[in-house]
Symmetry: C2
Subunit: 363 residues, 2 copies
Amino acid sequence: MAKSQSVEQKLVGLADLVVEAARKKQDPQIEIPVRALSNVRFNERKRIIEMGKATQARTFFNLGMAKKFMQTVLVGDALAELQRQDLTTSLREIYYRTKHTLKDSNENTFDSQDESDPIIEDLEVTLASLREELHVAAEGRGSIVGNIVLVDDGDAIDCTRAGKSGHTVPSICEEPDIRIKRCGADFVLLVEKATQFNRLSEDKFWKRHNCVLLTGNGQPPRGVRRLCRRIHDEWRKPIHVLVDNDPWGYYIYSVVKQGSINLAFESQRMAIPNVRFIGLSSFDPEKHGLPRNVGIKLNDKDISRAKELMGYDWFQKKEWQREIKHMLASGLKYELDALANKDFRYLTTDYLPRKLKDKDWLD
Amino acid sequence: MAKSQSVEQKLVGLADLVVEAARKKQDPQIEIPVRALSNVRFNERKRIIEMGKATQARTFFNLGMAKKFMQTVLVGDALAELQRQDLTTSLREIYYRTKHTLKDSNENTFDSQDESDPIIEDLEVTLASLREELHVAAEGRGSIVGNIVLVDDGDAIDCTRAGKSGHTVPSICEEPDIRIKRCGADFVLLVEKATQFNRLSEDKFWKRHNCVLLTGNGQPPRGVRRLCRRIHDEWRKPIHVLVDNDPWGYYIYSVVKQGSINLAFESQRMAIPNVRFIGLSSFDPEKHGLPRNVGIKLNDKDISRAKELMGYDWFQKKEWQREIKHMLASGLKYELDALANKDFRYLTTDYLPRKLKDKDWLD
């Protein structure tokens, strides 16, 4: 469907399809893009993971699909309610809102959230609307400090005056609720874990190095990714990603960079192909003299996951093959926290300044 | 040890004990309060869970204790470093900082964080210093909006102008870093989950009902509990706790109210005996006409946990026995999210206003 329509119009359009089919005594049918590995590819030019064009029809007059069809219309109705009232909610509340027992039966519209979540994803791709545009917030929020001024629901938040702990990054970071009023920073440092965010914030690293610090407390939630993308697009700032040195850290970086296979549809609005991996690199422990005993032995899952990453199109650069091979050869992974072995402030005073000075990062 | 000494003085005092014993050619020995159920009791007068007075000696010239003794001194040293440099860090970084291989051996000072965490708890109780005073932050942060002005690291944060998502509540909420400059609210609403916090914040519930909204995104982390306690103590504000109706929700409430068995030592600084349980009550589904199909069947673990709660000293009031019995009799638990079944904004427009008007809460 066209991007220029409002989300509410698109949802109403969906209902119209059903009404029109009924009027014509036809089987109502919705074309839903296929969300499966078979319909995902890496776009070399755009450098993002994209969905292909395959679709599947969901029809009402089909015993195997009738329930799902009904569920799709119910969820669409709840989503239209959110649009009309200008409310946001969670996946879980959509489930509760649309759950009821069908009249004169023991049949529930939904028996668990496992049934409603995929329907919301179906509608996301069918209507070409991000979950945020559907007003459905994902779990997880982050924090931000540094040289940036956000406007959150009309309130200007100067993140150089937001204390040590910073402003909460909302689950949904879209216009018009969230605006980036000004960003005078030279770059954004997206930090995987709260511990390092706290260290850098306490040390006012953002002041000395004129940057913005962001964390999502683990795998960055959608709001944090979207805010990063918007700072990059609207204010042309480079984004550096700082993660543990393990396959999970590489994966976090790659999701921020080109999106994920599971949610390929969202890459076009979430992925930031220009982000850089600033560390931890598998070469850092030697460069920075970390003892082997603060490394953690790779387990079988780590090893097979690392090999899997090496096979992905987007890890084919020779620097990346070298990076991952070196981790496998060492047999060890390292957490960012391990830098504390040198000194509690090593990250702030030595590790990052040297990385930035030497431009010691991977693309 | 005396409360008036600085934390650094206490840590140095610990080292002095060892030096003095060595000088006298005696076995150095540290008296550590026992952290076990046997040494925990409910103080009826103060209405908090407290530690008793039992202690155990940890000595160096004892094969079974020598390693732990050495570890205690090492962790004490790292904690003193934090005090001298005025830094805060995480449990995990303390582990990395203190880990090394003993000279001319293959023996590590610590093999995993499971060894260093309990030592930090030992030192907490031995030195009568909260983890926050030792400058060790726990995981997890919360968010705050509403009629309160905090000073975080010198920056005044007016939480009526902190957007929808609010200020991040730090892991450590102690003076002098965090000050409560002003609180004009009538009460604090501590909300278990982010979904309801988002709903109430989006609806500006705090404005209409002149309150402060706080969430810890699940079991409230220490920072959120400490901030609540400080708002209660310093500004005499009532605290209302809003949780799911299940044994876990009751438990969250009870930890906020009188502390936990595992960390009984902290109750004196963290527990808030005056907090009220505003919901969800097991009587609410009927009062508010929630259909049974949005309830979730209690499983065996829920049932045994509920019975366990009914046995605790601090759940002996007849209202509480009635509350828990009613949940067991219904066979169902309810999430706050289930209120969305009525209407996405039911929590804001109906449920909470009626609760507040009727003073329909439990002590």
